[in-house]
Amino acid sequence: MDKFTTLTGIAAPMPLVNIDTDMIIPKQFLKTIKRTGLGVSLFDEMRHTPDGKEIADFVLNQPAYRKAQILVAGDNFGCGSSREHAPWALLDFGIRAVISTSFADIFFNNCFKNGILPIVLPQEAVDHLMEDARKGENARMTVDLEAQTVTASDGRVFPFDVDPFKKHCLLNGLDDIGLTLEKAAAIDTFETQAAQSRPWV
């Protein structure tokens, strides 16, 4: 997993609420057995016509946002299915941070496993950043994970909360399976005890 420390980039505004994982990456792209190559299919049915042509007014097709690295999105971003193809597609497109008032639980966790930082901010902060994102490529935001801040193009700074363990993993690009396997002895002990107390499991 790539580390996430600081990021300065273009933010694309997606004010629609309840953007679901079926919108982020429609089902026909879930048939892959790889994690890569999904960027071209990100938001496919919003971004492309059925015959594959670009829909000009979709935000990521607009010249200013084709190289966006940040999304500023409406409430409850990533609701729906558990498909990790959603963060894979975002990452493959080049998105490394998503800002919203709330995220669906599984999507939120999946982002951290892939070097994407989902940032929860209050409505007024998201509103400000949404307006900032609407300014296009001249408005670059900076996300600083160590300092836990988002800085808008006008210099306004918005602090955010992040789980300390998830922050540690993201800052260092850590594989959490490796971390858990360091606790193998504790898992062994738990299994031995559970075999006594709940032998039917």
Partner: protein, 472 residues
């Protein structure tokens, strides 16, 4: 004396392997269900790292999303990518030695129907799967939720999950349901009330008389859609109905182990005075047969209502409603019962069990789909299909003009050829009405099996109570 605990607290506490200073826990996983869509990258990760599956005996795999539901499916899968994905699961199950129900096995079906059916899912367990509808298993008093593929790999390698505890939410449904009102109406009505983000950060315990009165299958329908309300999991305290359902299942304990298990399961309830961070109470008598009108599961209204206008909402929902109405081809003020349909889909992990098929067949007996309406029934498992055939339900569906199919996820998400055409409008017993979910441009109205069956006969959305009144 220990502080009173919720059911969720008790199951959580029984599975904590390790707690870090910041409260992050390592949680032991009792059952890991696996399907072909969200697992190939996880198994590949194991191979690349030279890791094994830690507990293959607790890992159960079944292909469901991509499998054809047509009767000629033994000839193989036409779509190359789908075939590769199912073949990959075949190979991974064999190479890693996990329990497996291949397409050719009569027990194959939707993973969330197979797990309970085979007795893999039991009270007090932690159950995960790379699938958001894992919430279904909460009906047994199990802590069950969906995970992403990276977490699938983590569970395969370590049989644990890194978790922070969620908050506790209680949803109480008091009293009794009125005729024509089902578990599906309960779960949709809750989402209509809380919104799709209302459960974010919570594990919901469903309780109250109307929940107690539900069969195990009805409880599975309720818990199945906890995720649509944003909750990590939904859970219902186990009781005699739960024990009766589990007893004798192939992987349920037997003899003395059964007795020991039941003794522990009987301690799995929320203690008097336990703290809930959020409480919602709905009167069972106030729940009507409902349908969705939009493209979010929170877009729920009683069938007697009219299509809302964007201006009826506030904030970001105004624009979302405008987009939904445009996608769904609906006009504000239009009566829901005036919405004509083109298709009926009965199936999915929400409503693909035998009781769902019985309920729909009861409505359809001696009737036929309206002209121009196509219907498809996809049983949730091979065993559900066999039982429905033995009970004569399949004949009722076929005589009513429905296609009778083999088990799988099918049209619920259209990863196989079972899809809606652009603009085609479907009365569906599934769980998501998202744009494009059942096929690009397809229009989905979520409802109960009896409401979907009734809509099929009428050719438009209809209040099932009017049909029930006719047959009395």
């Amino acid at each position: 004396m220990t502080a009173p605990k919720t059911l969720y607290d008790k199951i959580w506490d029984a599975h904590v392997v390790d707690t870090s200073d910041d409260g992050t826990c390592l949680l032991y996983i009792d059952r890991h269900l696996v399907h072909e869509v969200t697992s190939p990258q996880a198994f590949e990760g194991l191979r690349l790292a030279g890791r094994k599956v830690r507990a293959p005996e607790k890992t159960i795999a079944v292909p469901d999303h991509n499998v054809p539901t047509t009767w000629d499916r033994e000839k193989g899968i036409d779509n190359e990518e789908s075939r590769i994905q199912v073949d990959a699961l075949d190979r991974n199950a064999r190479d890693f030695g996990i329990n497996y129900y291949p397409v050719s096995d009569i027990r194959q079906g939707i993973v969330h129907i197979v797990g309970p059916e085979q007795g893999w899912t039991l009270p007090g367990m932690t159950v995960v799967c790379g699938d958001s509808h894992t919430a279904t298993h909460g009906a047994f008093g199990a802590l069950a939720h969906g995970i992403g593929t990276s977490e699938v790999e983590h569970v395969l390698a370590t049989q644990t999950l890194i978790q922070k505890k969620s908050k506790n939410m209680k949803v109480e449904i008091t009293g009794h349901l009125r005729p024509g009102v089902t578990a599906k109406d309960i779960t949709l009505s809750i989402i209509g009330e809380t919104g799709t983000a209302g459960g974010t950060g919570y594990v919901i315990e469903y309780c109250g008389q109307a929940i107690r009165d539900l069969s195990m299958e009805g409880r599975m329908t309720v818990c199945n859609m906890a995720i649509e309300g944003g909750a990590r999991a939904g859970i219902i305290a186990p009781d005699e109905k739960t024990f009766d359902y589990c007893m004798g299942r192939p992987h349920a304990p037997k003899g003395a182990a059964w007795e020991a298990a039941v003794a522990w399961w009987k301690t799995l309830y929320t203690d008097e005075g336990a703290h809930f961070d959020k409480v919602i109470t709905i009167r069972g008598e106030d729940i009507a047969p409902v349908v969705t009108w939009g493209t979010s599961p929170e877009d729920v209204l009683p069938i007697t209502a009219t299509v809302p206008a964007p201006e009826d909402f506030t904030g970001g929902k105004v624009e979302a409603a405008r987009r939904s109405l445009d996608y769904m081809g609906l006009t504000p003020g239009q009566k829901l019962t005036d919405i004509k349909i083109d298709a009926v889909f009965i199936g999915s992990c929400t409503n693909g069990r035998i009781e769902d098929l019985r309920a729909a067949a009861e409505i359809l007996k001696g009737k036929h789909l309206a002209p121009g309406v196509r219907g498809m029934v996809v049983p949730g498992s091979g065993l559900v299909r066999l039982q429905a055939e033995e009970e004569g339900l399949a004949d009722i569906f076929k005589q009513a003009g429905f296609e009778w199919r083999l088990a799988g996820c099918s049209m619920c998400l259209g990863m196989n050829p079972d899809q809606l055409a652009p603009g085609e409008r479907c009365a569906a017993t599934s769980n998501r009405n998202f744009e494009g979910r059942m096929g690009r441009g397809g229009r989905t109205h979520l409802m109960s099996p009896v409401m979907a069956a009734a809509a099929g006969i009428a050719g438009h959305l209809v209040d099932v109570r009017t049909i029930l009144a006719e047959t009395v």
